[in-house]
């Protein structure tokens, strides 16, 4: 399998979109509900937490830079622990992609295609995801590179045109209104989203100039926190925390507020479809990783023949996850964060064991040399 195809620039642009997509689209309402005017602060705290996690993940990955985690993991932990963990990763990543897909389906069906069943939207989306996953990481990251400019253009346009509708008097609230409880709960829910940087472990062999990875991740986190922060500030300035947290999708209401010369109204569909491409990227990357884990577990030459069947499973998972919005939201707010914490702390375990093993080895060699 060819490795070293993803440039650091592509990695950075990808991660900006990766963070940006779901946080702004799906999580904004809950975040504002939990931490009100502290939301921006929460975003930055979470970003820093994400970078710290990335540091450890990169530390683990650089020890065997050109091997796949699924393969070398069994050198660190005994095989009977490593393989169940990998199976767990496989299922989790598939589940994560399923959950994001479900959120997306609900969104599209509710806002744009009422009366269309979830599975139809899911199947269309799943098909595109499968096709993209089949093409592999190299193309996935290239796609991100091209989409990035579109997204940034959309974002800037949004920022400019919405500007005159904002209530600037409200900005002082960002300085004066704080609550420790809000920051804590908000961060607890948001840190895992930035912690999803853990996927780096699985795409590390594909990167070029691996020593620059941490720098790219830092820049990506910085820029995405900037963009997310800007969107959240805009939301708060436009709607206030009260209304924002009552809207299911505050972003779309904000975009609907754009009025250019009273002629171009309701640009939401266009901007939302641009944003939807980001969600597509995020789903695809999770899905591709899970398919690759499975292919590596079976020691297959490539992951391609598995994509379509697993995409079907992903769509089935997305529908099976919850029967309604209430069930989905309660699941997301009550168990999801803890689950992600668990998932994201597994690399620490590996790093710890590996470090101990290496120092043991060194000691042994040292001892041998001494004797």
């Amino acid at each position: 399998m060819k490795t070293e195809q993803i440039t650091q620039n592509q990695l950075m642009l990808f991660f900006i979109l990766y963070y940006y997509s779901t946080l702004v689209g799906f999580a904004a309402s809950q975040l504002i509900y939990l931490s009100q005017y502290d939301s921006v602060l929460v975003i930055y705290i979470s970003g820093i937490a994400g970078v710290i996690l990335a540091y450890f993940v990169i530390k683990l990955a650089t020890r065997r830079p050109n091997e796949f985690f699924v393969h070398y993991g069994s050198e660190i932990l005994p095989k009977w622990i490593h393989i169940p963990i990998m199976v767990f990763f496989f299922v989790s990543f598939l589940q994560i992609s399923g959950i994001i897909l479900r959120e997306y389906e609900d969104f599209i069906v509710q806002t744009y295609l009422p009366r269309t069943p979830n599975w139809a939207v899911g199947c269309m989306f799943g098909m595109v995801v499968a096709v993209t996953a089949r093409l592999g990481f190299e193309n996935l990251f290239r796609i991100a590179q091209g989409l990035f400019y579109l997204v940034i253009l959309g974002n800037i346009g949004n920022a400019i045109f919405i500007g005159k509708e904002l209530q600037w008097d409200r900005w002082i609230a960002f300085v004066t209104n704080h609550s420790g409880q809000g920051i804590f709960i908000g961060s607890f829910q948001t840190v895992p989203t930035f912690g999803e940087v853990v996927i780096l472990l699985f795409i590390f062999p594909y990167l070029t100039q691996k020593h620059k990875t941490l720098k790219s991740i830092m820049w990506a986190t910085f820029f995405s926190a900037l963009f997310i922060g800007q969107n959240i500030i805009w939301l708060l300035l436009l709607f206030g925390p009260n209304l924002s947290s009552h809207l299911t999708y505050p972003m779309i209401e904000m975009i609907r507020y754009i009025r250019i010369a009273d002629f171009i109204q309701n640009l939401d569909h266009l901007l939302i479809s641009i944003w939807a491409t980001m969600v597509f990227l995020k789903v695809t990357v999770f899905f591709t990783i899970s398919v690759q884990i499975l292919a590596h577990l079976f020691h297959l030459k490539d992951h391609r023949p598995l994509t379509f069947s697993l995409a079907a499973v992903m769509v089935a998972l997305s529908i099976n996850t919850a029967s309604g919005t209430a069930e989905l939201t309660s699941f997301l707010y009550q168990a999801w964060a803890a689950f992600l914490y668990f998932l994201e702390f597994i690399p620490f375990l590996y790093l710890l064991v590996d470090t101990i093993k290496q120092s043991n080895k060194k000691n042994k060699i040292g001892n041998k040399l001494k004797t």
Partner: protein
């Protein structure tokens, strides 16, 4: 349900031609079709049994108490 069967038949045929054109080992065929079969059964059962437990139920069962404890 018919759609699922048709869909999986198409997937099966497509992967078959793919594996054939790439001249893969017999083991690969077994693994790939095993996975296709398993996903077929899963997809079918989600349609047949509406309230089938999903991984999310498991996650909720395991992690909800933990999160409740942390957040107090």
């Amino acid at each position: 349900m018919i759609l699922i069967i048709i869909g999986f038949l198409i997937i099966f045929g497509y992967e078959w031609t793919y594996l054939k054109s790439k001249k893969r080992k017999k083991r690969t065929y077994w693994i790939v079709f095993g996975i296709i079969g398993a996903s077929f059964i899963y997809c079918l059962s989600t349609v047949l049994f509406e309230h089938m437990p999903s991984p999310s139920d498991m996650i909720q069962f395991l992690f909800e108490p933990i999160q409740q404890k942390i957040l107090g």
